[in-house]
Amino acid sequence: MPTHLDNEQSIVAAAQAGDSDAFVTLLNQYSRHIYRLGLSITGNHQDAEDVLQEASLKAYRAIAEFQGNSRFYTWLVRIAVNVALGKLRKRALWKESSLDEPREGEGGSYVPLEIESWGDDPEKACLHNELQQLLAEVIQKLDPKSRTIFTLRDVEKFTIEETAKLLGLSIPVVKTRLLRSRLKLREELTKYFGKDARNAMPTSHR
């Protein structure tokens, strides 16, 4: 979750009083985070840009309704998640519940294959841009619902309960999907950061 602006409360108040520059200041602080969130959930840059634009406009129009009992960023993320889920629903990539939903306690059926400790920390092993791109790529190996859950919980730091509520899912479903997502992403990253990694970084990241 990004750091907030020093005098954020007064900037929000100014935006609520109709100061459009104040709103742009708020948005500039968070736009790249919202774009990344949109990209993680929808999986493509065009939709990510649409999510950013639509969520920003909705927030601008509704800023007077912002109560101030959560951070502005949290409020903006909620709006962006709803826009992004709308995109997934349109593409029939999101169903509220389905028969293939894992049941509680099934996470253990995931057997780790890559068992190898990591060498250098990822932050030391590659440049920031390379790492950012790699993370954006590996997260797309998860199905849309799992990567949305993982993004909200582990990237945006919402609690399990908040994530479940935001997505209209049960807590056991969120927990099980989160566990599987973490284990799958661990496998993927071990291919790059494992001590004996076969490919330290893919060619496209060099």
Binding site: G18, R32, I63, P112, E123, D154, K175
Partner: protein, 80 residues
């Protein structure tokens, strides 16, 4: 505790949300199981790297189109 149960509990363990009795059982297992130690450690690192990595700056063209959209909205006098 067996390896499979450790895998099942990894999320709650690294989030600090596991019952203390289960934490003791899990850590007893880790003391003698190198594979599970590696999986727990690298799962924790996986979560950390996603949470710590800042997003790249917005691409210039995306930023420009966002600004354009706002200039248009402001001209129309939204939201008032």
């Amino acid at each position: 505790m067996r390896c499979r149960q450790v895998i099942d509990k990894i999320s709650e363990y690294i989030d600090g949300e596991l019952d203390p009795e289960l934490v003791r059982e899990l850590e007893r297992h880790l003391q003698h199981c190198e594979d599970c130690r590696v999986v727990v450690d690298t799962t924790r690192k996986t979560v950390e790297v996603f949470c710590h990595t800042e997003p790249s700056p917005l691409p210039n063209d995306v930023r420009e189109r966002l600004n354009q959209m706002f200039r248009h909205s402001f001209r129309k006098g939204e939201p008032n």
